[in-house]
Symmetry: C2
Subunit: 347 residues, 2 copies
């Protein structure tokens, strides 16, 4: 079936592009001499995670316990959840997961590590813990090298836990002094620090420079228009994801309405909200809930009701989270349809 024969809106992956993106990132990290750990939150598709592992990723990252459950069910055996896991319900699911796979989590507080330890010890499993450091990202993370050492010591002392090392997000050279100091403090205390993990697509070399031995990249798999607009080396041909839409109305010569809006594209500024591959001079300038508004006044093409278009969405990782399935295609022909199995796993 050709992708234009799919009912619309339809989420489609170009497999050639996806495979190239996966291979290129694996080669880039290999060249740098840093281990790649792929973040699956961008695609949430176990089949793609398996492709990434086959290309040399040493494990995966999930942002939610529910996503990790999906990936473990698909046979993946090394999962990092870089998140403070709290509350009995999630902790019980986490220890159940730890019986199926090697599970590592992040923590930045005593409350988090004590909760992890109590549940892991009660359920007879070991959870690996990375101490999360805030080195400018202003999200989670301990604030000083001393605090990282103190929390590391607590993790090392508590039952059910294994101290694995440290992590931060995003990788930033401003963190150099923090990590130099922290490593010294950890070493002085004899704390194990097997893993130093950085993150953020495009920041692999920064992690290497910081002396890290692992990097977490995710969005490169689909590649985003935003990053492409900022990079001289990237073109829209690197974007693997597209939404096939139908023109549902041509109310005026300059205006075309497509059958995908906010609930298909997760649209928000900046405009344009996506790139129409067949007519790059058309401009998706507005979206209502279920309609996309396209200014075609700059196009010579005469659009007709019922015509199909392929749109590279602006927010690729978020678009995935709106759709239950995605068709994988090669040269415009659908090869298979994958469940976005990790979609909507908010917990």
């Amino acid at each position: 079936m050709h992708i234009y024969d799919l009912d619309t809106p339809a989420l489609v992956i170009d497999l050639d592009v996806l495979e190239r993106n996966i291979a290129d990132m694996a080669a880039h990290c290999k060249d740098l001499g840093i281990a790649l750990r792929v973040h699956t939150k961008t695609h949430k598709v176990p089949e793609i995670a398996q492709m990434q592992l086959a290309a040399g990723s040493q494990g995966i990252v999930c942002q939610k316990v529910g996503e990790a459950e999906v990936m473990a069910r698909a046979g993946i055996r090394d999962i990092l959840i870089p998140y403070n896991i709290l509350g009995t319900q999630k902790l019980r699911r986490l220890t159940a997961l730890a019986k199926m796979a090697a599970i590592t989590v992040a923590a930045d507080s005593e409350e988090t590590v004590r909760g992890l330890s109590a549940q892991a010890a009660a359920d007879g499993v070991t959870i690996r813990v990375l101490v999360e450091a805030d080195t400018g990202g202003q999200r989670c993370g301990v604030q000083t090298p001393e605090a990282s050492r103190d929390l590391g010591r607590l993790v090392a002392d508590l039952p059910g836990l294994e101290l694995a090392g440290m992590m931060t997000f995003p990788s930033n050279l401003r963190g150099q002094a923090f990590f130099d100091s922290a490593r010294e403090l950890w070493a002085r205390d004899g704390l194990p620090c097997e893993v130093l993990s950085g993150g953020g697509t495009g920041l692999e070399a920064v992690s290497k420079q910081l002396g890290f031995n692992e990097h977490r990249s995710g969005s490169y798999a689909y590649e985003g228009l935003t990053r492409i607009q900022k990079s001289a080396d990237l073109t829209p041909e690197r974007c693997a994801l597209r939404v096939i839409v139908t023109v549902v109305s041509v109310p005026t010569a300059g205006r075309v309405i497509i059958d995908g809006g906010q609930k298909t594209f997760e649209s928000y500024p900046p405009v344009p909200y996506g790139l129409i591959i067949e007519h790059p001079e058309a401009r998706i300038h507005a979206m209502s809930v279920e309609h996309g508004h396209v200014d075609v006044s700059g196009c010579n093409h005469r659009f007709r009701v019922g015509e199909k278009l392929s749109v590279i969405p602006l927010h690729q990782g978020k678009v995935t989270n709106m759709h239950d399935e995605v068709a994988a295609a090669r040269n415009g022909e659908v090869v298979c349809v994958w469940d976005v199995a990790g979609r909507g796993k908010v917990r």
Copy 2:
């Protein structure tokens, strides 16, 4: 179970607020003397649609065929889909629906009505059609009263279709001259115009003034922070929807991180992204994919890791579309959990 005992993030409806909003809108339309047809795209929950019908709505609106299928399966027998339905796959599903329920659709082009007619005639059903008029909304819709008459005539002439009347969105007094003229043209041709349908929560009186006999309102059920900020008569107590979250990190005295971000809240500017009921002086100023960033420098309360908070989200209708289920609660106690059965029905 108390709502604070739900694993987080958890989508919760305050039933008392929902029931009040439903009753008030029904009374408002009754007072105005205009029929209410509730739009279900805000909640996508059949149980809530049934509550709205019981309160006096004469039927429902769905924006997608997939949403209509969910509602028809739940026993709802009068459904308007104000959308140009195109393509064999959707048209076949539409005629299947028309065997279960009275189905009305909108159309603004010959292509759309010819497609509807061919499939309806082939499958032996009747589809009711409203001619959609663009009266300033600049989305879909015919552009002139004459074009509405010509399309109405085509609908009346084609097999499998029943001409029901006209619709527009949003209702706007600028449309007065258009509809006065269109009605005259339709009457002169003897075209039936049983329904004149306007739309938009808060625009019920505008529809009445335009001489319409039906109004489509949807977002009033949950009520949105944006509309509340613009209205002297509304307060956050009218917002039925909230997201229960957990504080997962307190990295500094002024910063709190909660376990809901863009994939929980569908957040985009303006900030703040929601109102924390327990601490309205806290400010959700940023969101990453799975974290909410809260500035608590203006709060006297000392936040602790593991604490639960109730957030009224900024974009209520869109938040619903991120979640597979919603807990219905009264006085903080969970009464039942509903599937968001219409969620993600992009087609």
